[in-house]
Amino acid sequence: MAAVTRSRPRRWRRPPLIADRRVRWVLIAVALAYLVVGAGTIEVNWTRLSEGLARSGRFLSGFLVPDFTSRASDILQGMIESITMTVTSTVAGVALSVPFGLGASRNLAPAWLYVCCRAIIAFARAFHEIILAIFLVAMFGFGPFAGFLTLSLSTIGFLAKLLADDVEEADPSQLEAVRATGASWWQLVTWGVAPQVMPRLVGLSLYRLDINFRESAVVGIVGAGGIGATLNTALDRYEFDSAAAVLLLIIGIVMACEYGSGLVRRRVQ
C-alpha cells in the first residue's frame, strides 16, 4: 500500500503558457527593455504643463458658472440638430443593420452573400467616425447631413457585426425544429432566430443611440453639424462658460439615455 503511494508524483504544476524557459525569459526581458526605452523618450515640458493647469483652472471656474443664456439660440439649434442626427441615423442604421446582419450570418446565408455582407461590414468598421466624417463633409459639404451619413454608416458597422455574431450563436436545435415544420426562410428568421436575438438587438440599438449622441458631438467638431459645432465655436472664442453649458447638457442627455435604455432593456429580457 505504502509503496504504491510513494511511486506516484507528489508535486504538480500547471504547464506554463510558453513551454521553453529561455524563450519565456527573453520575451520578458524584451518587454521590460521596451518599457524602459519608451519611458525615456517621453519629454515632459513642465512649464507647458503648469500653464495648461492654470488654463484648466479657468475652464473649471467657467464650469462653476455655466452660461446657458448668452448663446441660447446657438445651443438650442445645435442640440436640435444633434438629437435629430442621432435619432435618424440610429433608425436608419438599425434598419439597414438587420438585412446586413442576417446576410453576414453563416448559419442563414449562402457563402457568396456571407462574404459580401461581411466585407461591407468590415469596411464600415474600418474607419473611425471622425475619419468618415472628414470624408463625408468633404463629399457632401458642412452640416448635419454629413453627420447623419457618418453615424448611420458606423451604426451598420457596429450593429450588423454584433447581430450577425449573435445570430451565428443562436441555438441550432431551435432553428432545426422550426425548419422541420416546413417553414420558409423568412418564417425561420421571424420564428426561430428573432426570438433568440431580439432582446440583445433591442439592447444594442439603445446602446448605439447613446453612442450616436456622443459621437454627434464629436463629428460636429470636424464640420458635420450639431452640438459639436456649437461647442467648438465656444471653445475657439474662449467662452468657457458657454462651453460648460454645452458639456453639462451633453452629460445630462447621455445620462437620461442611459437610464431610459436600462429601463427598456430590463423589460425586454
Binding site: 431551435q174 422541420a180 415544420t181 416546413g182 420558409s184 420564428w191 426561430g192 426570438p195
Partner: protein, 279 residues
C-alpha cells in the same frame, strides 16, 4: 401499406465520417419502430435524412408516393409539413409562449405575413388547442416555453409535431433529458397518440429497456448499418452484442446507462425476461 421506404441510404459528412452505409428500411402506415444503437451509430443522421435536415449523399427516401430525395426546395418544404419531429432537448423556441410554439407547427401552411402577425386561421387555432388539451397543457397556453418543466416541455414538443397533422413522426431521443418516471410517461403518451391517429413513427432511443417496454419493432444500427430488424422480444444477449459490442447483457448495469434507480432495476428485470424468453 408501406408509408416510408428507405433504400440504400448513405451519408458521408464533409469530414469524411461515414455516418450511414446503405441503410434499407420500410415502415407501414401506423407502425412505430424503435431505432437503437451506440452513440455515433447514425441514428440521428438517419432520421434527419428522412426530412432532409441532413442532406443524404446517396440512396432514396419515399414517403407515400413521393420521393423525398428528389424534391426541390419548395416541394421539400411542403413534404416536411407531413413529417413531425420531436427532439432530445425539446428544441422549443424558448422565448415564445407555449401556444406560439405549438402554432409554429402550422408555419408550413400559412403565409409569411399571417405568421408574422400571429394571425392563424381559426382552424389552426382550434387544432392547436386540441393537441394542447390532448397532452394536458390547457392551463399553460400563455406561459413562456422556458418556464416549463422538462416533461411539460416535451409535451409541447409533441403537441407541435401533432398539430402539423403529420403522417410520420421522427422522434430523436425523446427521453434523454428526462427523469425515469417522466420518460415513461412521455413514451406512453407518444405511443398513445400514434395509435389514436394512426401515425407511423421512428423513435431513436438509447435506452434499450424503455424501447422494449413500448416499441414492438426494433431496428439496431451499428456504425451506419442496420444489423437487426425484428421484434423487440428478439433482442437476445447475442443481438445486443452485435449492436453494441461485447458486454455482460444479463447483469445489472445493462444498456440503459441513465438508470441506477427503481426504473433501472425494472428495466433490467424486463431484459432478463426477454433474454430468458429468447434463450
Amino acid at each position: 401499406m408501406t408509408l416510408l421506404r428507405i433504400e440504400g441510404l448513405t451519408k458521408t459528412y464533409p469530414t469524411g465520417d461515414a455516418a450511414l452505409r446503405g441503410v434499407d428500411l420500410a415502415l407501414d402506415q401506423g407502425q412505430v419502430i424503435g431505432l437503437i444503437g451506440p452513440s455515433g451509430a447514425g441514428k440521428s443522421t438517419l432520421i434527419r435524412c428522412v426530412n432532409r435536415l441532413v442532406e443524404p449523399t446517396g440512396g432514396k427516401v419515399f414517403l407515400g408516393g413521393t420521393e423525398i430525395t428528389a424534391l426541390g426546395r419548395r416541394d421539400l418544404r411542403r413534404a416536411r409539413r407531413h413529417i413531425g419531429m420531436i427532439f432530445q432537448e425539446f428544441a422549443l423556441v424558448e422565448r415564445l409562449t407555449v401556444m406560439e410554439n405549438v402554432l409554429s407547427g402550422r408555419l408550413g401552411y400559412v403565409g409569411f405575413w399571417a405568421s408574422w402577425f400571429r394571425r392563424f386561421p381559426a382552424d389552426d387555432i382550434e387544432k392547436a388547442f386540441g393537441v394542447l388539451d390532448r397532452v394536458g397543457l390547457m392551463d399553460q397556453v400563455d406561459k413562456r416555453a422556458d418556464a416549463l418543466s422538462g416533461g411539460q416541455r416535451q409535451r409541447v414538443g409533441i403537441a407541435r409535431a401533432l398539430v402539423q397533422q403529420p403522417d410520420l413522426l421522427l422522434v430523436d431521443e425523446p427521453t434523454a433529458s428526462l427523469d425515469p418516471k417522466t420518460s415513461r410517461q412521455v413514451m406512453r403518451l407518444l405511443i398513445e397518440v400514434c395509435s389514436e391517429r394512426g401515425l407511423a413513427a421512428i423513435v431513436n432511443i438509447h435506452d434499450v429497456g424503455l424501447a422494449q417496454m413500448f416499441l414492438p419493432r426494433i431496428v439496431g444500427l451499428r456504425a451506419g448499418e442496420a444489423v437487426y430488424d425484428g421484434p423487440s422480444a428478439g433482442l437476445s444477449a447475442d443481438i445486443l452484442t452485435r449492436i453494441y459490442g461485447e458486454e455482460d447483457w444479463t447483469s445489472a448495469a445493462a444498456a440503459g446507462d441513465d438508470g441506477g434507480d427503481a426504473a433501472g432495476a425494472l428495466r433490467v428485470e424486463t431484459e432478463r425476461r426477454i433474454v430468458a424468453g429468447a434463450g
